[in-house]
Subunit: 304 residues, 2 copies
Amino acid sequence: MSKEQESISNFLSKLSEIAEKVNEYLDKWLPQNEEEYSANLNEAMRYSVMAGGKRIRPALTVLTAEAFGFKGEAVYRAGCAYELYHSASLIHDDLPCMDDDDLRRGKPTNHKVFGEATAVLAGDCLMLMPYEWFGKLGEYGVSEDKIVKIMKIANEAFTYRGVIGGQMLDLRYENKKIDQETLERIHMGKTAALLRAPILTGAVLADANSEQLKSLKTYSHKIGLLFQIVDDILDIESDAATLGKNTGRDVALGKSTYPALLGLDGAKEYAKKTYNEAILAIEPLGDKMNDLKALALYLLQRKS
Amino acid sequence: MSKEQESISNFLSKLSEIAEKVNEYLDKWLPQNEEEYSANLNEAMRYSVMAGGKRIRPALTVLTAEAFGFKGEAVYRAGCAYELYHSASLIHDDLPCMDDDDLRRGKPTNHKVFGEATAVLAGDCLMLMPYEWFGKLGEYGVSEDKIVKIMKIANEAFTYRGVIGGQMLDLRYENKKIDQETLERIHMGKTAALLRAPILTGAVLADANSEQLKSLKTYSHKIGLLFQIVDDILDIESDAATLGKNTGRDVALGKSTYPALLGLDGAKEYAKKTYNEAILAIEPLGDKMNDLKALALYLLQRKS
């Protein structure tokens, strides 16, 4: 195994260890089905949040905080909050009036199981609950000052400047030819914003300084783009068996992609360039960034 | 004019003065249509938020803060945040999969104008933006400690213990006969929670103590119920011209109402009792509660 492959493999086993802990905490912290008067709601929220996934967003909070020497339950509480928002966003995305998807991670989508009205409400509730969980950080001794900082970081990612803004822009340009700048603004909103926020949250919890926050911000944006560029390439190059979903979907849907804009070789070059920029951004922070570097390498080299 | 009528009339003119300022601030603080990359989103959000209404929730923040001697733009910033959430909740309520309403305040509902996908996203964004606005309270010198307190008060009202929990319970018992306890739990969630939060927010901004907060909490719950009891009575007694909407709707829809549970006279007695409890709750706080008392009296005596 090359040194590169080894660092990716170490990173992936660390990631799955964290994901296991995230799953335990989510199960413990989500409202119980029998709690209060919102049993159906709680059941619908649990259904989607506990459906699995790599738990990459909470893992980013954990990895970043630990890189700066900060560990403990508070890091998981803050990181898991982003998983709630992520689940909420997927529930609303899958609605008939949005992407109209029946399956998500091999299971029927939320509205297929609980009905559309409950799916709207479960999504609403999961979008708002991160702020409840941020509020609970005080119980772990996190200062109000930091809680407000984290709340602002989350806002920036959740609303019109972040995910929702990106989705809106995506809707607006559906089936229209767009330039690279617009494509990147969509990805910055829909993808990069929700990688940036958990990374910066981990850094704030661990008292990173403003210079370090700036480096991590650039890194987040670059890996968000990198993820999307590689996604577009895999949609063309990979076979369905490896990718675990149908290939050629983007072309069939007439979506603007990097290979469409830059050609396949151009897109590959651009992926490499974006990877290099991600690494360069966190280079000044030294060895403690090894996990985040391994993540970038993994995103560049992944085959699925 | 009786003394009672005079206090109501003074209160109503104060309310409309505040509403005018609320409208100015909302117009100023909502993202501009041309801002960033979310033009359609901003247009859809403005459409619903600026559609009017009594602005009772921000007014409650303002009236409460001023009762305790605290004035200024920060009070409006915090109060207006609740109007964003309220608008969001109406946008999602009107969706075809929820109440399927085409008209709201005499205008086509959000999804009728902008399409369902945009209405879902505009609602999502408006639900989350209160936290952006709470975060901005620091710019007016409000301490992080208070901001976190307000954030928690808002959470309690917005999610499964508040509005969304109430809506869920309402959905669950649709077309089913329910007892008074269940009916009150629905109203506590759907209505009272979103009166309580702006009132407590005004009190926290103005440094009210925990005893005072407790009194205001009880008052909020009572006026929330009072509003609903009187609503149910008006649905039977008022004519459509006075009420500005069709009467007899509740009965036609098979909804559980107070007159159905207690008889018309019983419901009227219960309204009077609930009014008395609201007044009693804030009696110890003295004359500074006069506006809130006038509000309770108005809610009891209103004919529309």
